[in-house]
Amino acid sequence: MTAKQSSWLIPAAVFANNAVADEMRLNMTKGVTDISASVYDLHMIIFYICCVIGIVVFGIMFWSIIHHRKSKGVKPANFHESTKVEILWTAIPFVILIAMAFPATKTLIEMEDTSDADLTVQVTGSQWKWHYRYFEHELDYYSLLATPQAEIRNERAKSANYLLEVDRPLVIPTGQKVRFLITSDDVIHSWWVPEFAIKKDANPGFINEAWTRVNEPGIYRGQCAELCGKDHGFMPIVVIAKEPAEFKKWMAEQTAIAKQAKEEEQKLLAMNMSMEELMTLGEKAYMANCAACHQANGQGIPGVFPALKDSAIALGDVKQHIDIVVNGRAGTAMQGYGKQLGLKDLAAIVTYERNAWGNNTGDAVQAAAINEFLAGK
């Protein structure tokens, strides 16, 4: 966990200048959308109602505690029922509740209206990262925690956005209605950005809808809100809202980069990487994608995540090994990495797993082999 991870810091540093993040807050955020503002208002109204009721009820009680003491020689009164009073204090709260239900209902109806969106983003949670796919554009990518392990393990000072920084944030335009289609690849996650007042569960096999229209450009941070296993606390969400023109520019750049990357990958097929290159790249990719479960030392967590060191898969048939890495293993926590990693990374990971920690198979698996496997089925 030393020099190799410093490459993680570059994207982290880019977004580490948000001074607001360190400020201590006591109350719910007003957020940056009309919806989040009305949610905040609802929160404050109901809070004040509770305060008033509390002051009245506790006031009467403490009056009694102070004045109706035996030590002051008070003789107890005899009354012990009154239907009139009972009806009164059933009816008054009832009326307050009805008054409260109206604005709550109105806001809720607005929140659930996902029609007429300008842009649609599919949000997919998996252990323990988010994946974003723009429906109207040729662009999709994973978004992972960017805080280095050294900060989490207290080996280095914590940066300003500790645990709230990712390698590739979601980017959306301001002023436009953005619809989110939220789902999951494995367990239930929950996509939460407080500034948008959106919290929606990502359920495997089902799609939930949410929407936002952000008023101000900025960087907005959230976290997974539903317990999703070991690293539930380590899958933050970062959304950057840009002016529509800037968003357009960003989108053009990103789609061009994605296209170029695909083309380069095709070229790669003809090239052979050296064992050393594969191992170096493999270690980096393994740490980023595999080590959370199988651990940096390849020994897994007994009874939960299997060891790769001396394992039958890593020492056995290469095809079978590639198959598990690419497609995952149904019915277990092992997900398929075929669609989230490039051919080069996949090849490097398989090579690394077959040659690290004393797994001395000597196999150098090339990108072409992965491509062959993918084409083969």
């Binding site: 400020e23 201590m24 807050r25 919806i35 949610v39 609802l42 109901i46 809070f47 509770c50 509390g54 009820v57 506790f58 009467i60 009680m61 009694s64 109706h68 003491r69 035996k70 008070v74 107890p76 009164a77 009354f79 012990h80 029922e81 009972e86 204090w89 059933t90 709260p93 409260m100 239900a101 709550a104 809720l108 929140m111 252990q127 914590k158 956005n161 645990l163 709230l164 494995d186 367990v187 239930i188 929606k200 359920n203 096999g205 089902f206 976290q223 809100a225 539903e226 317990l227 999703c228 070991k230 380590f234 967590i301 007994p302 009874g303 939960v304 149904a330 019915g331 277990t332 926590a333």
Partner: protein, 529 residues
């Protein structure tokens, strides 16, 4: 009636003498012995579950990972929840019911004494299984006490089967306990003890027992489906096989919401016994208290999905569950108003049970307020799964349920042991608990609103100051509870002799028998005026 029969039985037992030593406790069918067993067991569980809370708070004292790994942290939150709900709070109420219900209705014992013995003695095994699973390879249950699928099925570790069986045993125990309470109240009331003359503790327990019988089988169904999904290739909760993970939550919370009332209705009963005693005035609005309890119980069956607003329910569903949930605050409010009206123009004294009761009324109401806030669906989207929720349910369960248990324990301790407890020590316990519990739970509202999710082992730095304060409150609250053990121990050993009535304003059948209550009470039914 069968009174003569029971008398004959008791008589025979006295002749041979109760077995002594450990066999007395293993074989006992006496409601007082079984009540004591339940109470001591729940106290032990309170400290084991509390120890886990200390681990959680130690890890959260500072940002970063210091003491435990995230997976073990999740095991701690999970088992802490399970132990406190099923091991501490519920058995404590069953223990109080065992001791007090027969004495309050003028019955010689519980109606089904052998089943009573069994329903207690399977409990230690349930918790032994649960606790031992923590030492398995791969660790114990780590999916939260709510064990949402598929985290608890496809993605869980090998201890899940042990978790399922331990919950099954707890459920069987609870169902048997509930049947016993219902049969006792229906059949063994002394002549003249009509339903509307029963003390409120008896009423609330009767209603609680019906809730238990209604929902514990639902929990059993949920854990069984988790078991078959994990080990026998069914797909109740897996979309890939035609199931639905959200259905798990519907089933779980159909159990889970009545469950939270199972843990608070008997508390209402205890407070309704104590407040009139120390106000020297009859309980205000007895019948409306009974009706309010019954309406809370009925409403509890139609609000479960307010735990699931973020799962993507249709709008109509969200509205229905929001309105029903808001409605619950009406009967709950009635209860609070009635307690205040009972105190109004009473002649108040502030012995330890009363102090805990007043703290209960104030702090439980604060928990009720945050509950009302959580009912507002759009706002719930911001509160859900944050520390605001953690603050809410700890206010209703710790300063609610547990404070009421403490109040009840102090109220009846002299009747159980025959001695007054050390009041100085008990007052120290009260004040230390009151202050530390608020240092512990009140700031959780703030960190929750500021955006800290629950069930995370590490957090962003802006939450650091409050978390340090919360942890200090937690350690202080944990340590303060040792005073309670000291008070109880001293009170069992001796002290000032308690009178039969114990408290000046106390009324009811339990105060007419000697202190300590003899091994058998009301072998001939009392006269009810």
């Amino acid at each position: 009636m069968s009174t003569t029969n029971l008398n004959a039985d008791n008589h025979a037992e006295e002749h041979h003498g109760a077995p002594s030593g450990i066999m007395r406790w293993l074989l006992t069918t006496n409601h007082k012995d079984i009540g004591s067993l339940y109470l001591l067991f729940s106290l032990l569980m309170f400290f084991i579950g509390g120890g886990m809370a200390m681990v959680i708070r130690a890890e959260l004292f500072q940002p970063g990972l210091q003491i435990v790994e995230p997976d073990f942290f999740n095991q701690m939150t999970t088992v802490h929840g399970l132990i406190m709900v099923f091991g501490a709070v519920m058995p404590a109420f069953v223990g109080l019911a065992n001791w007090m219900v027969p004495m309050m209705i003028g019955a010689p014992d519980m109606a089904l004494p052998r089943m009573n013995n069994w329903s207690f003695w399977i409990l230690p095994f349930a918790f032994l299984i649960l606790l031992m699973s923590l030492f398995m390879e791969g660790g114990g249950p780590n999916f939260g006490w709510t064990f949402y699928a598929p985290l608890s099925t496809t993605y869980s570790n090998d201890s899940t089967a042990l978790f399922v069986f331990s919950v099954h045993i707890m459920g069987i125990s609870s169902i048997m306990g509930a049947i016993n309470v219902i049969v006792t109240i229906f059949n063994l009331r002394a002549p003249g003890m009509t339903f509307m003359k029963m003390p409120l503790f008896v009423w609330t327990w009767l209603i609680t027992a019906f809730l238990l019988i209604a929902v514990m089988p639902v929990l059993a169904g949920a854990v069984t489906m988790v078991l078959t999904d994990k080990y026998f290739l069914t797909s109740f909760f897996s979309a890939a096989g035609g199931g639905d993970p959200v259905m798990f939550q519907h089933i779980f919370w159909f159990f889970g919401h009545p469950e939270v009332y199972i843990m608070i209705l008997p508390a209402f009963g205890i407070i309704s016994q104590i407040v009139p005693t120390f106000s020297r005035k009859k309980l205000f609005g007895y019948s409306s208290m009974v009706y309010a309890t019954a309406s809370i119980a009925l409403l509890s069956f139609v609000v479960w999905a307010h735990h699931m607003f973020t799962t993507g329910m249709p709008l109509a569903g969200e509205l229905f569950f929001m309105y029903c949930t808001m409605l619950i605050s009406v009967p709950t409010g009635v209860k609070v108003f009635n307690w205040v009206a009972t105190m109004w123009r009473g002649s108040l004294t502030f012995e330890v049970p009363m102090m805990f009761s007043i703290a209960f009324i104030v702090l439980f109401t604060i928990g009720g307020f945050s509950g009302l806030m959580l009912a507002i669906t759009p706002a719930d989207f911001q509160y859900h799964d944050t520390y605001f929720v953690v603050a809410h349910f700890h206010y209703v369960l710790v300063t609610g349920a547990i404070f009421s248990i403490m109040a009840g324990a102090y109220y009846w301790l002299p009747k159980w042991t025959g001695y007054m407890f050390d009041e100085k020590l008990a007052k120290a316990h009260f004040w230390l608990s009151l202050v530390s519990v608020n240092v512990l739970f009140f700031p959780m509202h703030f960190v929750g609103l500021a955006g800290m999710p629950r069930r995370i082992p590490d957090y962003a730095t802006q939450f650091a100051d409050f978390n340090a304060v919360i942890s200090i409150g937690g350690f202080a609250f944990g340590l303060s509870q040792l005073l309670f053990v000291a008070v109880v121990y001293k009170c069992i050993k001796g002290g000032e002799k308690a009178t039969d009535q114990v408290w000046e304003g106390a009324e009811g059948l339990e105060w007419e028998v000697p202190s300590p209550a003899p091994y058998h009470t009301f072998e001939t039914p009392p006269d009810i005026k």
